[in-house]
Assembly symmetry: C2
Homo-oligomer: 347 residues x 2
């Protein structure tokens, strides 16, 4: 049955456009000859637009993006723009406005991938990072800025509503995986208000999932486990900031952020979900065709899975697995890697 996917493309800054181009190339190949077609709309958002117009993401942009079925995003952030402007005004605004409460970050150590760990073991877990609350809400402020009496606050906001929906999603994901294990990551011995809300919520939802083994680790201890025994993890559920921190570490131990994909998911379908590599805009290597587009390509696979096209998603991740296994360390350009992945997907 013919189907058209309306895809909003936000290539963004730095290496964003380079890696997104390869993601789209692979997307075209995997859908070629199928009944699924993609209708793309490019959104010019990021540093260039901000410099020209002062705009990051207007209400009109948001309304236009919302009419799409999914969003593919490259990277946001540029050294010529004050820190925070694009991150909060564009990337986080998209995540919050489109209610992306499940920030999904799978970590898998592909066979043959170089890892900084001497004995990584069999690493295959997914972090379900809350995406619309915690210290990312933009609550807080500053007084007497620039004086010796300056005070600056950041408020982590956590609600039963927000915590419960993401915890429930994480349990459902654990239920669908063979090991059926869920680890809550927080710091409830210090952040007692938020921490106890998370803990009680996990305990309550656990009653509905009797097959799931549940455990808990403080975020500081998790960084230890990530380098000493990452194979212990199956599904991790955690808050927005802890999730940000531990998923970069997870990416590092599984071969680097060049391979780490993510989805900003609104499971209800009320808004389009957004798929993006975990890496940033990497201004130091932008424009040099040095970026590894694999994370962007794997983000396309996550997107296809989310859109109900698991067979196509698997073809892409199989192509990535095969390509990685064949890597011998000789350098390839962004386009060369994209071409190689596209060729493997084409079969």
């Amino acid at each position: 049955m013919a189907r058209t996917i309306k895809l909003a493309v936000v290539a963004g800054d730095g290496i964003g456009p380079e890696v997104v181009a390869e993601g789209l190339k692979v997307l075209d190949v995997v859908l070629a000859g199928s009944e699924v077609t993609v209708e793309r709309t490019a959104f010019e958002l990021g540093a260039k637009r901000w410099h020209e117009t002062g705009e990051t993401l207007t209400d009109d942009d948001l309304a236009a993006i919302s009419t799409h079925d999914a969003i593919l995003l490259g990277a946001v952030g540029d050294p010529t723009v004050p820190s925070g402007v694009l991150e909060r005004g564009l990337l986080l605004k998209l995540r919050f406005a489109l209610d992306h409460y499940v920030n999904l970050r799978p970590s898998r150590l592909y066979p043959g991938v170089p890892t900084p760990l001497a004995n990584p073991g069999d690493v295959d877990f997914v972090v379900v990072r809350e995406g619309t609350e915690g210290p990312y809400t933009g609550n807080g402020g500053a007084l007497r800025v620039g004086t010796p009496h300056e005070i600056a606050t950041e408020v982590s906001v956590n609600t039963a509503f927000g915590v419960e929906r993401v915890v429930r999603d994480a349990f459902a994901r654990a239920q669908a995986r063979p090991r059926k294990k869920l680890t809550l990551v927080h710091k409830h011995n210090v952040l007692v208000n938020a921490g106890h809300l998370w803990r009680r919520t996990v305990e309550a939802v656990a009653a509905e999932f009797p097959e799931i083994t549940v455990d808990y680790a403080h975020v500081d201890a998790v960084t230890i486990y990530m380098v000493t025994d990452p194979a212990r993890f199956d599904v991790i559920v955690t808050d927005n900031l802890f999730g940000d921190i531990i998923t970069d570490l997870a990416a590092a131990i599984t071969g680097g952020i060049g391979l780490a994909a993510s989805g900003n998911v609104n499971p209800s379908g009320a808004f389009p979900s957004m798929f993006e590599p975990v890496h940033g805009s990497a201004p130091d290597i932008a424009g040099q065709s040095k970026a590894d587009p694999t994370a962007a390509v794997l983000s396309v696979a996550l997107m296809l899975e989310h859109l109900g096209l698991p067979e196509q998603a698997t073809r892409i991740s199989d192509a990535v697995t095969a390509d990685i296994a064949a890597r011998d360390g000789s350098p390839r350009t962004t386009v060369e890697i994209g071409d190689a992945l596209a060729a493997r997907v084409a079969g």
Copy 2:
């Protein structure tokens, strides 16, 4: 010149008393025959006291502890006590009441120590973690607890006063080290209020330290560098929560928390500083003489350095270096390791 050090000993919970005993053993040996004597006072604080009396740290305890020159602490926390009670009521209360604004955590990869990293490089850095502000202040609260409308907040409080004094301390430490490098770790692209205060403060203080090379990394990126290139770090200055997280990771890559020492320092000397291993109370191995007391012994060395006894401090760290180089992986009890270190210090 004869000198008496008044030492408050808070052995605490779990493995705390076991490792503190070895720390004190080594302390006695290193001072034997010198003109420095130690007058110890043990403070019964922790789970047992709380169960018996409901007290964590009374005003009287605090007043008594304050009359000492330094504090040696084992570990705080016990599974029979609700999470947060001892951490906030005892450990953090000490850090805050005694204004321990410099939480000092050196990380050095001793030759011969097993590390989870395949190619760690030459790791030798120190994290200066802010100790009296940030998300640890206990600001925030909860409303409608236990209902579907619960809201829980945690407020990170940052002041120019608090940030400047710790940044200044970190610069001074960088100045005293050969590489003269300082890295600010924060997340100023999201936590813009606190992050920009930290950034502006580092920029301002940098002007007074023209020899220091200053750079910046987001906390998430730091977890990547810790496993891919930890040798890049010299002095790191960061907030209370980020410091908590990255120092556990730093400990893990340099041989584990069995080796990580720390000082909670009040540089003004208005209050006694407190020295403690980074590891917690480890209830799972408590009472089995399995804990490695090396971190407690190295905390004693940090204490001696702080008290103006650098020669004695070096004798201890040299003993640790030698002991570690001689380790062949065969298991030793807590007491055996303490005895071995004491014997090496005795020479």
